[in-house]
Amino acid sequence: MTSSAAVVRPAAARAPPLDLIAMVAVLAALLVLAQLVPVFDKWPEALVIPVRGWVTDFFAWFAQTAKPVTRAIAWLLAQPLALVEALLYRGIPAWKWPPLPWPAIVLGAALLGHWIGGRPLALLCGLASFYLALFGLWPDAMQTLAIVLVTVPLAAISGLLLGIWATRSRRAERVLNVIFDVMQATPHMAYLGPVVILFGFGQVPAMLATLGFALPPMARCTILGIRTVPRDVIEAGHMAGCTPLQLLWKVELPAAERTLLLGLNQVVMQTLAMAVIASLVGASGLGQKLLFSLQQLQIGKAVEQGVAITLIAIVLDRMTQAFMRRNPQRIAPGTPWVRRHRYLVAFGVLVVVTIAAARMFPALAIYPKELTLSYGGPINDAVRWISRNLFPYVKPIRDSITIWLLLPLRDFYLFLPWPVVIGIPAMIGWHFGGWRLALLPVGLLGFLMLAGFWTPLMLTLYLVTSTTVLCVIIGIPLGIWAARRPLAARIINTVCDTLQTFPSFIYLIPVIMLFQTSDLSNVIAMLAYATVPAIRFTYLGLLRVPQATVEAATAAGATAAQRLRKVELPIAFPEILLGINQTIMMALAMVAITALIGSRDLGQEIYKALPGADTGRGLLAGLGIAFIGIIADRLIGAWAQKRKKELGMG
């Protein structure tokens, strides 16, 4: 924690030059070798191991064998979903029961908001639900909401249980950690193939795919939360004579509440992030309508639907946050039942009244079409106006970036012989973490090469590195700016939130209109999503620089620029590295989305595998993206660790 360590950098902090020279020499030798022996340049097609065929065959066999089991699971999950669907939009036709009328849900949401978080939350919940009716999205929104309302608790509870299990058993934690790493780094879309083969089509498989994606963050946060409960709190629990179960429920989980909340927040976000992608496997609702709008070039309408998804995410997020933060209310003994349960009673009255009223006024049962609004038209016009009028300015920039930067870089990546590509991360790993870390890239990248994914792998690396470099160039200055000015921080935060929850499919269209189907479009689409962590972590890292250190530097006569360069940035460096790490992860997650623009990377392999149920191809390509992420994560993690030690913070 000493500030002097940061200011006066010890000589040992620099990499020994001898190491560097050795690395360059090895790489040069590998380059020469590749020119002499063709096998060391491009891995021959004939030597590719047909792993993907094996995986596809295995899944086909497994799906056939396990069909009774998987279908039973699907049936089981369909039950709670059917209940929620009946309540929200289906009703029970056999008994002539109507679904809840829309005013009951809008006012009910407001009521729930009021109960949880008072008037501001009531207003948010009510208005957001009314948006769904006002813009004619009601039935679709209810379909999406039904999936979300069942998936979120399911993911949260199973994540919590897995997390608790991991804290109780070292071995479980080690295994789960690896599984979660792979699960989180694999793009959403890669889940769909196996899920379709095993569970069929429709809402339930979509739910399962969502579950697979939303569960790991919850489990992660549970582990982290319980692990960081202060020792003395647990000691106190022991002293009070808690049984292990009591210790868990009454001490550890409440103490870990904040971290658990973060996990729940992630579950909600991930579930809604899947809303659009899940419609590729037959989930109906807002996501499906959004894709239809885009297909019809109705960008404005797609925005309306995208905003609805974002609103549902925001409302659920604020609700869960407020719910956890709520202080338990003391109820005086002897309070009558009705008073104790006034919200429940109010809701019951609301339901009865609205159902009765809906019988008389059909407008209350189904929101009348004549009363719906739309702001899609102006947005359509705006997008077209931008494409028409900004294009003359964009074109020269687009062309010069493509000709001078992207195309040479792509050719360079495709030229690199495979030993060099594998050798670079291996040597970096060796430098930071010894031979274990060196073997990781060799094993993972080598596997992808043997499985025949080399070219898409290189094209993915090319897109991801280009994106990451641009993200760092854009994100870090923005983060610094946000750390300086509170107003800028607020604006940037809002923009970041929107970028992350708004379905990325929508902004692909304007990007294509301006930049055409090209690598640059792919990079820009990834950029919009992946810059966010670079900004956020820089901002947080700078905020956490100890005030005393900053003052000491100022007292020593450092100018603002000097302070930033010599004190603040070095101290925030490990944090910034984490941000870059996250940026790479986000860029990788977007690789699958760029397939929709048109690319030849691993994302395209996943997307192409979906239709033919070519599980092997899709899953391995998904794993390929996960592998890149894991390698980057481990290398950067080791680097950050080393820096922290040098700063005396480890």
Binding site: F201, Q295, F391, L508, L596, S599
Partner: protein, 317 residues
């Protein structure tokens, strides 16, 4: 050649189906819903709703299930979905055949025909005199070049997995073009809209019937007329050493597909669906109600049913 065998095969399957349908016609339909597949383009959505609403009026329960165009065939073969009203020869034939082998059933062809090929907006006729002939397009390649394609003309192609062979065609016809495949149809339309608004030259993959016709004025490029020999015999056509030196068939089929259980569980509905037969003008009119008049697919279906009573009543006989 492939098309011919396919035609014969489908005829045989169709005949077998009709026979099966005749024997089972006396049984009652199940009360479970028939799961009708909906995709994400207009004509398919309206037609699906038309059939669904007619079936509902007959007392059959239906449920609409959205799906990706290629994934749906896994579902049809596996019995997870029951009926698809639009099976396109050009982009779906391969997956469809695979589904038939896996248990799905061919429900016969519509009168409507489909065409998929290179397409350009009409204003390009002035920029490249001689269009729609492909040689005129080739001569015009320089105007279609971009930073990425260098001196070659840029052809915005269909998603790489749609089973087209445009790169091969470019080589076989020795055209000065490069294919840039998109990831999804929406990308094609975004490219078209942008170019159209800026009156820039563009050549892209397109098909008919399609909502694009209602919004954009343009036409197909005329390549050497397709003959089955073009795809099997290198000697055919202008290039004696290569296949694919011709255009795509101008009249591809548009079929219907069903699950195996559709005929077993709902024999009456299946008999009706087999008779369903849309024509090109009917499909265009159905789609225009959504794309031009801004109706929802559900409402458009209602209107279509009201306007075409004689047509669908005949299918119910």
């Amino acid at each position: 050649m492939r098309a011919v065998t396919r035609f014969v095969k489908s005829g045989v399957v169709g005949a077998a189906m009709l026979a099966a349908g005749a024997t089972g016609a006396s049984a009652q339909d199940s009360s479970d819903p028939i799961r009708i597949i909906t995709n994400n383009w207009t004509s398919q959505l309206v037609l699906s709703n038309v059939l669904g609403q007619i079936l509902q009026a007959q007392g059959t329960n239906v449920e609409y299930k959205s799906s990706d165009t290629q994934l749906q065939y896994t579902a049809l073969a596996g019995g997870d979905m029951d009926f698809q009203v639009e099976v396109w020869e050009g982009s779906q034939a391969e997956a469809f055949e695979k589904a038939l082998a896996g248990g799905a059933v061919d429900y016969g062809a519509h009168e409507a025909v489909t065409r998929e090929d290179w397409w350009y907006p009409k204003y390009m006729n002035e920029m490249c005199p001689g269009l729609p002939d492909w040689k005129a397009l080739d001569a015009c390649a320089g105007k279609l070049a971009t930073a990425e394609t260098g001196s070659k003309g840029r052809f915005v192609g269909p998603p790489a997995d749609w089973g087209k062979h445009y790169s091969e065609r470019i080589q076989a016809l020795k055209m000065n073009f490069q294919e840039v495949p998109v990831g999804q149809a929406a990308t094609l339309w975004a490219e078209l809209q942008a170019a159209y608004d800026r009156k820039e030259p563009i050549v892209l993959f397109n098909w008919t019937p399609n909502f694009i016709e209602a919004k954009f004025d343009g036409q197909f490029v005329e390549f050497p007329v397709y003959e089955p020999a073009c795809l099997s015999d290198p000697k055919w056509g202008s290039n004696p050493d290569a296949v694919y030196d011709c255009g795509a068939p101008a009249k591809g089929y548009l079929k219907k597909a069903g699950s195996k259980q559709l005929g077993e569980k709902w024999p009456k509905a299946a008999a009706f669906l087999k008779k369903v037969n849309f024509t090109n003008p009917q499909i265009a009119a159905a789609a225009a109600m959504v794309d031009v008049d801004g109706m929802t697919p559900e409402d458009a279906a209602k209107k279509w049913i009201a306007d075409n009573e004689a047509v669908w009543k005949a299918w119910l006989q």
